[in-house]
Symmetry: C2
Subunit: 366 residues, 2 copies
């Protein structure tokens, strides 16, 4: 289950890919298609069909099809209908990626963010619980670390957020954690704190198709290189305490990130050992999904220049309010307990992004 | 506007009294009557009618009547109906006291708490905003201080909570603060962090009528003294770092607390100066409502013994998980900026509580 993300199905479609790749899961996609294209679902199902072996069983074939439901998580009756279709115990688990995620916008319309991100999560959990679906993987974000006191950032860092968006992520983690504490024999939950996903599926069939000017660096560079956006770029600050003075982020390939969701979902199974060393009865944990390697804005621009052959024009301007110098994950815990490793490197991310971008210069609807 | 409190209308009914006492406000009570008696509203309106001067104007007389609406804040259409009745700009402000507040219960059914306390607040704010009602006084709690690092506790203390209930209070404060930051020209909000209310209206007409065994010390002592509960009492721990070893809390008369709401509501008026020294554009602040004087469990028992003549039997048992040694407010800011002062002393609280209890041994429904 997935979607309703502001990044149009980018993470969601890759997570669906990762689930279908195993042929162990049947994916129900729940999306209100706010800022996302249903075509992404058709494409990812196509990849799954193409990957079926010649001797695929009926079950294999079924795993390649997505049950695409249109529903809005803020509408209780719409969520309920999805669960009713499968009945009590009919849905094994939920991967909850549905959230608005534009930091700036969240400061302008906070109530919309609290409703769509927090109230919707409460409904989802209530409804899932009612239908005995008590496993959840929650999409959190590195933004829950605010300005982190230590780099690389371990999961034990105190949580703080500078924007309503970030606060909704902390609130939802809190709510899921409290639910797992209240019902330790029923509920199991994992929060995945995303660092910066880049790249796209190497097929070029799925990727990020933002509406308007992309807010994140990678897709923005791709859009500029392909000619969909003017060749102007602002680099906010080059006087940070980082190697080249520009902000440092931890980029990981979106397919690595997506496979982290699969590992997390698998870890909610009864035989999983991830909760064995928990400090309480509650079966809840949070993991960083990052590569553990910091890359600066200028390094990303240079890598995209190499991948695309395009000469980006950029201008160094003042620091942007709310930006943090360095957000690099400590990925040790996820590696140790989930077996997660962000394997792909920067050049692969750039290559795959560029492949997607050139094949879909106008996104899914071209 | 008020109610839906788990303490059956105790604070709400006294706040309504405080508003009606001024004859400057017409009160709309919004309550789902979860665990509260509509009779409290009849009684408080009766007090207002009885207090009308001989030459009362029609407007005065109207101010003594309550528009009692039954609505559930978790149901968006029910909230909307209340606002629709008065139209855009028809409701001047909201005092939002509606919340579940049993700490222990909140750890057992956290989703119910997050829905009723947080999601409902988001709906209320959205609906109020839609109807251009952009002033809110929010009932928060000293529980947002968790285990406070300094006593007495100033408002600048970092917030933390040990229970889902406490977390809902922090979340709602956060949401209101973010809304006031996003719309500084429209929204004004004040959070009131309650310390421990005691006593009752001196008329004995309104007071706390808990269903079952009261969870808080004062009403429990009253119920025991009046014979509604068996004469057994557990004092949790006498080895805390406090003068007599038992936990210390900051008790204030419920009428003082109620008048704090009136001061806060008045402070949302355009001519108010409470936001003049704010550090940002946002017109949002939080105030402690306490007396600034710590009283131990044993001191309360002794004061209630004097007031009732009843010999309470108590047993010292081990500390209770989650109890904090001392929660005493620094009341300076509310006094300076709101003109708030908790005037009544412990003996008055005990006397008024006992007056209520003896006149209503079984609460409102006797």
């Amino acid at each position: 289950m997935s979607a309703q993300d502001e990044q149009p199905l980018k993470v969601c479609s890759h997570v669906i890919f990762a689930l279908q790749e195993t042929r162990r899961y049947k994916v129900i996609s729940v999306d209100n298609h706010h800022n996302s294209s249903p075509k992404a679902l058709e494409r990812v199902a196509q990849i799954a069909r193409d990957n079926l072996p010649a001797n695929a069983s009926e079950k294999d074939k079924d795993s390649a099809e997505i049950d695409a439901q249109t529903a809005d998580l803020t509408k209780r009756d719409e969520i309920k209908k999805v669960f009713e279709k499968y009945g009590k115990g009919g849905i094994w688990g939920v991967i909850h990626i549905a959230a608005y995620k534009a930091v700036g916008e969240s400061t302008e319309i906070p109530l919309t963010y609290y409703e769509n991100n927090v109230s919707a999560t409460v409904y989802l959990l209530q409804t899932a619980s009612e239908f005995d679906c008590t496993r959840i993987v929650y999409s959190s974000s590195a933004t829950v670390y605010g300005t982190p006191p230590t780099i690389p950032i371990p999961e034990t860092t105190r949580l703080e957020a500078h924007s309503p968006y970030g606060k909704t992520k902390i609130m939802c983690e809190t709510i899921i954690s409290d639910l797992c504490s209240a019902e330790p024999k029923r509920w199991r939950g994992l929060s995945l704190r995303y660092f910066n996903p880049g790249g796209a599926h190497p097929s070029g069939l799925i990727g990020e198709a933002p509406i308007g000017r992309p807010g994140n660096l990678f897709p923005l560079l791709g859009a500029i290189a392909v000619g969909a956006q003017p060749n102007t770029l602002k680099v906010f600050g080059n006087d940070y305490p980082t190697p080249d003075g520009t902000c440092v982020r931890d980029y990981l390939h979106v397919l690595d990130l997506a496979r982290g969701h699969l590992l997390a979902l698998d870890a909610l199974a009864p035989e999983s050992k991830v909760f064995d060393n928990a400090t309480s009865d509650a079966r809840y944990k949070a993991y960083n999904l990052g590569k553990g390697k910091g890359l600066s804005v200028l390094q990303i621009i240079e890598a995209m220049r190499k991948a695309t052959g395009f000469e980006f024009k950029y201008e160094i301007v003042g620091r942007r309010r709310g930006d943090v110098p360095d957000l690099t994950a400590d990925p040790t815990l996820a590696e140790k307990e989930l077996g997660f490793k962000a394997k792909e490197d920067l050049d692969t991310m750039c290559r795959d992004l560029w492949n997607w971008q050139t094949k879909n210069p106008k996104g899914y609807d071209a």
